[in-house]
Symmetry: C2
Subunit: 497 residues, 2 copies
């Protein structure tokens, strides 16, 4: 006689299996982190096959039937609570999606990503897109296949967007960018070429001192260095291996103080989210971030709403001057604030002001759509990129490193990621407005160098819920309504006009 | 109708499976490397479970029947060559051994090792063995179980020795240490307390400069930094993720110049071996090191026969003086040579001279035998350790860090490893004697700072063969006879008397 398992017993089995899958996925994340930070160049080939094997094994563990059997049995049980049921339902959704890919495809995609990443590193070194072109073309072909395998209603790019932002579609994004373009252009026009002096940012800031300052800053913002670390990589990123081991990276330009400082703040925003996820939900949806746009809302909130505010630097500029006395001696708070918020169309997304930023995102979005719908071929990407930069930002891209080689994302096969930067910024403005309402004296606290209450508020309102709310539901639970981009426009007008 | 596969076809299947197992094992190695170099403290718990899962998965892939089916079919085929057959035979031996462990045991052992490693780190920080005691006791119990599961004829420790040195037994090691004790003691007695001045080693050598010097040195010896890297860890080690990604670590003591320098040379010796293994045999025995004693023969040959020789420093002392001009201004080659070869019983194995060194090894060997045969309990380990140091080396151990907490090995569950240090040193002396015969002008080359011919000779005679010869067969093929410890005694007499 086969003993019927209770919901609670099945749920335990489910948890064990999910934790095991998480172990393999996070092991991959360690290998990827090492690949981007410390791996010697010749290690690339072996690493590519190791990552491919782990990725394939995680996929197989997810889709080999054992998980599905547990899930389909558990879903009708009455003795499990709502949170458990939500975990199960989210896992079932993801399983049904993953089943559309076979393990050979997953392995090939992983191998191609590794190859593309290494080609991108090489192309960056030589400032030459053609060195990246062939592997990127391979990757785009695979992503088109992936979109076909996943299936879609209106646009193949919708299938890829889903990975980063479940409810997002080309139709919605087209509307969003359309709605935002004019108001943004107006504000940008009103505050560009204001003769803002940001030359102090481009003095010589020695590497070691910048590193010390950056480490100080990430600690100040609440990043727990006993549960994480910061390193250097070609492109800054955040990854985590569990809520107690969150890694951020940065890069240092000795002639551009802004580069490292705001990447430190941005990645710390991501890291604080990861460190705030519930550790006891390891491996379960409840232990994972809600969506990429919510993730980016955290990084952009800290980077911009906090990290480019006057109140923040009222406290931190005097501290910063201790690190760089000669460079900043003559710089007062108004000059500093104006300088770090100078609105000026430019080449590099990660260094852009928070207004022109969204045109960088829009350009990538347009290119991704075109690549995935085959209306643009990879060999024509640099020309398309440069044309779009001329059209939307009015700048002439001087070379590939300042152009279409600047971002790591495509080499990772991450098509559909970029739009979440804009979404994240808009959510950030909405959360920031709410935080100022919810937290009495928040601005005074920040003026005093204290961001603890803000972090606690984010932990309470956003971090601790993991994936149990999707972006819109979370936004509603925090602010009483779904995404409202007028709050970003209001924020921008108030700050810049 | 089932198609019969040819030997060549089966061999391809075998290779694919072995490479996949290697991927998982090397992924574990990356996680372990990170654990010992960069992982934040709170990451330990998550890392432990990730390592346990990977270890269990690798074990399951090895033992789940698929590999066995291929191996038993292939073994009778006539269309595979000798090297392939040797790979198959070695894999079958290992499989039969691995089958004696079940996956629950493998997982528990891995989890306990992680716990013990973290406890050891903590105990080192607080210089307090009792913080390590409980996890070490757990680990010893598991190793005793492991010995029982593997089985043995004469002594449970034999079953553990097998992991590191297949043909080694307690009986052979007892004899070996017995044979070596008196000759070693005589030479030591003759050259201890010679009023050798090594005070120059204990001046202030700044961390940064030592690091620069160490990096220079490892490169000079032929370590390919495009296929490897060096980092800092609590205890120096070498690991690899394939022949093109070999990691070494070191540690720096600003008041002990010797500490880092000879650990750099020692680990480089290991690394050169790993970088010299045939990359196209990835995952197969032919792509792995022969044995731990052969591995240690490489590290000890570079560390001692080369790295503590007068000819080596005739070239490198002037170079070294450029890094540390004030510290070494007054030190000439004879003084330097005498200083770095000062024979003096001491506490720390890794810093010991090459004669008293073997008593450090003997002490660990005696303790391991006693722990595994249950004649010593873990709680009595410090007392036993200190007694043996008094007995064999005549020194009074002042604290746990200078005593039984000094080595990382037990926290890794590596019982049976230590004897390979002595075996390796003896093989090293034999290989060194042979190299001087085989390579015309070797000593003149080294005097000129050129160790390339020596490396090529090691590559040709030892590295490229992987595991296709065992220690004794390899020694015979290189030197015409098996291990002959009189060559070590001759080397020691010539150098020290």
């Amino acid at each position: 006689m086969v003993k019927m398992l209770s919901g609670a017993e099945l749920y335990e089995q489910y948890k064990l299996l999910m934790q095991r899958i998480a172990d393999v996925r996070y092991a991959s994340a360690v290998l990827q982190w090492d690949q981007e930070t410390y791996m010697p160049v010749k290690g690339a080939e072996g690493r590519a096959r190791q990552l491919a094997t782990l990725t394939e094994m995680a996929h197989n563990l997810y889709t080999d039937g054992a998980l599905e059997n547990i899930l389909t049995e558990i879903i009708d049980k009455t003795d499990i609570d709502d949170v458990s049921l939500a975990n199960v339902q989210l896992t079932l959704d993801e399983l049904n999606r993953q089943k559309k890919l076979n393990s050979t495809f997953v392995r090939t995609l992983s191998e191609t990503v590794s190859k593309a990443f290494n080609a991108w590193i090489d192309a960056r070194k030589k400032n030459d897109f053609t060195l990246f072109q062939a592997s990127l073309a391979e990757l785009v072909t695979l992503k088109i296949t992936e979109a076909d395998l996943y299936g879609y209603d209106a646009h193949p790019y919708d299938a890829l967007l889903y990975e980063f932002e479940k409810s997002m579609t080309v139709q919605k994004l087209d509307t969003l960018f359309d709605v935002m373009t004019e108001p943004l252009k107006e504000i940008i026009a009103a505050c560009t070429n204001k003769n803002t002096d940001d030359s102090f940012l481009h003095q010589y800031y020695p590497k070691d001192k910048q590193w010390e300052w950056g480490m100080f800053l990430v600690k100040e913002l609440g990043f727990d260095l006993a549960a994480g670390r910061q390193d250097i990589s070609e492109h800054p990123f955040t990854t985590n291996f569990n809520a107690q081991d969150v890694r951020i990276t940065t890069r240092i330009d000795e002639r551009d103080f802004a580069n490292m400082t705001w990447s430190c703040i941005h990645e710390t925003g991501h890291a604080l989210y990861e460190q705030g996820l519930p550790p006891d939900a390891y491996g379960l949806p409840a232990g994972e971030f809600a969506s990429l746009s919510i993730h980016e809302s955290q990084s952009r909130l800290w980077e911009n709403c906090v990290g480019r505010s006057k109140i923040f630097w009222q406290h931190y500029l005097p501290v910063l001057k201790k690190y760089f006395p000669s460079q900043l001696e003559q710089v007062d708070i108004p000059t500093f604030y104006q300088g770090i918020n100078r609105v000026q169309p430019s080449f590099i997304r990660t260094e852009a002001d928070e207004l022109t930023y969204h045109f960088h995102v829009k350009i990538r979005y347009e290119i991704e759509k075109a690549l995935i719908s085959k209306s643009l071929s990879v060999k024509d990407l640099p020309v398309a990129w440069n044309d779009l930069y001329k059209k939307h930002l009015g700048v002439i891209v001087p070379d590939d490193n300042k152009g279409c080689l600047q971002d790591v994302h495509w080499s990772h096969g991450s098509f559909g990621y970029f739009p979440t930067y804009s979404l994240g910024s808009f959510y950030a403005a909405q959360f920031w407005a709410q935080a100022k309402t919810d937290i009495p004296g928040l601005e005074a606290q920040i003026t005093g160098g204290d961001t603890k209450q803000l972090l606690l508020w984010l932990r309470e309102k956003i971090h601790r819920h993991g994936k149990l709310y999707d972006s819109e539901a979370l936004c509603k639970s925090v602010t009483g309504k779904g995404l409202d981009t007028t709050l970003f426009i209001n924020y921008a007008k108030e700050k810049y006009l």
